[in-house]
């Protein structure tokens, strides 16, 4: 299945992309997705699916938009 992943801040330099469509095995969880895109779990603090926070164990669905962000404050 295909999902869109958007990485916030420094995570994009770890993964080598800011936003892209990724082909993943069906019902992959967030936790399983992270190594596939080279993002360390300890740096992935907030995971949003279509704008709502989800947990690491959440299985993803075809067409999901996943935004992963590290710890930050905004200033």
């Amino acid at each position: 299945m295909k999902i869109t992943v958007k990485l916030i801040g420094f995570l994009m330099y770890h993964a080598g992309f800011g936003e892209k469509e990724v082909e993943v095995p069906s019902s992959v969880t967030v936790e399983q997705l992270l190594p596939l895109i080279n993002v360390k779990k300890s740096f992935a603090k907030i995971i949003l699916r279509n704008g709502k926070a989800i947990s690491f164990s959440e299985p993803l669905k075809d067409g999901d938009r996943i935004v992963i962000s590290p710890l930050f404050s905004g200033g």
């Binding site: 958007k6 916030i8 801040g9 420094f10 603090k45 907030i46 926070a53 590290p70 404050s73 200033g75």
Partner: protein
């Protein structure tokens, strides 16, 4: 007493007199430093009702026990006074070598009183204080002024200065230092300007007294290195604070079009990724190994130091999605010494009021060139700029026609770059921020999207706002340091108790710090209440437009949703209850007693009935 110098330097500009005073160990332990010292001194020394721009106001420069020590991110200084913008207590925290030099000169606090009869500067070198004429630099922007001061006093000195904004008493003018450092959003620059004080320059050469010099040396050596390593491992400083912009756009919390909209399709053009790619230099504060001052070349080729708040307010909120143009606005604000956040909010409010037909004018959202022109007029209080220089609250009072609904401020201070149309906890954070709507005290938005739920108005959010206020508005503001190692890199808070104890020789825990924080919050609130004895909870409300269903997003993840008054009131009740404040938002007498504020609240009870 170790860790504190125990000295206050008092300078009167009217009489040109200088006095060295001492403070007691009891005072040090009760207020610790920074905004703690500042609010207590201003409470004791200012008569209620004085003109914040008159000679009776006092400018306080206050440091804390960790300030200036070569420990992580301690190159910060608190500047405070009665605010001309809010009429209450006001302060700011900026990166400057003053923190090191003033402490090395032997002082923790500088009090500037009175008013000089012509433009002056103050030069402090250890025990010697001199006044120098500043006519030659009066009327200059802060960059040129700093060059002049460095040429006169040497490159390494500590500087606090103002630009035209402060000189002309723009109510949201700030104090400047180093390349792009600025602080004192509630008009601290105007207070300096009202005293005809162009600059404070400090050089200190003594040792800062600490209890355990060996341990402090080790901390300086190891922890600064460790923080640098974490930064390298993560890469946080590649984008610094600006990484937040893309996230706010995703979660519908970006300020767009005077906060009428919460995201924009062009936001990517001014986000952290674009900024990192355009970055030509990185500046930072002293004693910092994670420099976050990302600098780009603006449209005119100047170096402009950017952060998220600046881009949010001067970029997306004005619908200007050209990074170099946002840089130009940022550069102008810095050079004029006016607050980027308030300036962006003022221009957006002006454009919105024109849009709504409440006022006539030719400024439109997206017009960067006109925005530059308006900033110049504002800094010099010329033409329409005189109106813009007073901030959104006063502009709305003049315009009328219901425009106060979309004047985006709390207590007179403009809201920084989080659009809380449907982010209840963050709206509470702005509503109850001690000095007016500032993001620095409680950044709860990630908690409420992640660990709580966005829809919730529950007690957990009020509790979290207070927890963050204790740390961000308390600890970092009274120890006087930068919060970023903790916030951005996860540097453990217990380190700060360790630093404090090694520096002072005391044995405090974090809980001791939270008591000091609560005392300071009660005192800042008391200061506001003494100025406005008709105080009620509506002063802790964010602007009406966030509650207006007709302003709800039409599409996207918060479509159809806005804040609700009765629920916000419940949240506020939780906040007051946890803080031990009454339903008006005034600390109860019993709370004051628990915090050791008996005397101060007896005084307050002459102005208002306390519960």
């Amino acid at each position: 007493m170790k860790g504190w110098t125990g000295n206050i330097l008092r300078i009167n500009l009217s009489s040109k007199t200088v006095k060295k005073e001492t403070y007691s160990e009891e005072f040090a332990k009760k207020w610790v430093g920074g905004r703690g010292f500042a609010v207590k001194i201003l409470w004791d020394e200012l008569k209620p009702g004085i003109d914040p721009l008159g000679p009776d106001n006092k400018l306080i420069v206050a440091l804390g026990p960790i300030a200036g020590i070569p420990a992580p991110n301690t190159g910060k200084t608190v500047v405070a006074a009665k605010s001309p913008l809010t009429g209450g207590y006001g302060d700011g925290n900026l990166g400057t070598r003053v923190s090191i030099h003033l402490r090395k000169a032997g002082y923790d606090v500088l009090i500037v009183e009175g008013k000089a009869d012509s433009p002056v500067g103050i030069y402090i070198e250890d025990d010697n204080v001199k006044f120098f004429p500043a006519n030659e630099i009066w009327g200059n922007g802060s960059y040129k002024t700093m060059d002049w001061l460095y040429a006169k006093f040497g490159m390494g000195v500590g500087i606090l200065t103002i630009g035209e904004g402060g000189e002309n008493k723009v109510l949201y003018s700030i104090i400047r230092s180093l390349e792009g450092r600025a602080g004192g959003r509630p008009g601290m620059g105007a207070v300096m300007g009202s005293k005809n004080l162009k600059a404070i320059v400090v050089k200190g050469t003594k040792e800062i007294p600490v209890a355990d010099p060996e341990a402090v040396k080790e901390i300086g050596k190891n922890d600064l290195k460790k923080i640098n390593q974490i930064d390298k491992e993560t890469g946080w400083t590649k984008q610094g604070t600006t990484s937040v912009l893309a996230w706010c756009n995703e979660v519908a919390a970006l300020p767009v079009r005077n906060m009428r909209k919460t995201s924009h399709k062009d936001a990517w053009k001014i986000d952290g990724e674009r900024l990192a790619a355009a970055c030509v230099k990185v500046y930072g504060c002293p004693n910092c190994t994670m420099h976050c001052g990302l600098t780009i070349l603006d449209k005119e080729g100047h170096e402009a130091e950017m952060d998220y708040e600046n881009i949010g307010l001067l970029g997306s909120n004005l619908e200007i999605f050209d990074l170099a143009q946002v840089g130009s606005l940022n550069y102008l604000c810095d050079d004029f010494g006016i607050d980027t956040i308030s300036a962006g909010a003022v221009l957006a409010f002006y454009a919105d009021a024109i849009d709504q037909g409440a006022i006539e004018g030719d400024f439109r959202f997206g017009d960067a060139e006109k925005a530059k022109e308006l900033l110049k007029l504002t800094a010099n209080r010329k033409g329409i700029g005189d109106f813009l220089a007073d901030g959104t609250m006063r502009m709305a009072q003049k315009i009328g026609k219901g425009s106060d609904a979309y004047a985006m401020h709390v207590k007179g201070m403009e809201i920084s770059a989080y659009n809380c149309k449907f982010v209840p906890g963050m709206a509470l954070a702005f509503g109850t921020s001690s000095i007016g709507a500032h993001h620095k005290e409680s950044w709860i938005i990630s908690f409420e999207l992640n660990e709580s739920s966005r829809e919730s108005y529950g007690r957990e959010k009020a509790q979290k706002v207070i927890e963050l206020q204790r740390i961000r508005g308390g600890l970092f503001e009274f120890l006087v340091g930068c919060r970023f190692p903790w916030i951005e890199l996860g540097w453990d808070l217990s380190n700060y108790a360790l630093y404090f104890n090694k520096i002072t020789g005391l044995d405090w825990t974090l809980d001791d710090f939270w008591t000091v924080s609560d005392r300071i919050y009660a005192m800042i609130r008391a200061f506001f209440v003494r100025e406005f004895p008709d105080w009620d909870r509506t002063r802790d409300y964010p602007p009406k437009i966030w509650f207006d269903p007709s302003n709800a997003d039409k599409e996207g993840i918060i479509a159809g949703k806005v804040l609700e008054y009765d629920k916000y009131d419940q949240l506020l009740d939780h906040f007051y209850d946890i803080r031990g404040w009454d339903k008006r938002g005034i600390p109860k007498m019993e709370t004051a007693k628990l915090l050791g504020l008996n005397k101060e609240f007896e005084e307050l009870s002459e102005y208002v009935t306390l519960e």
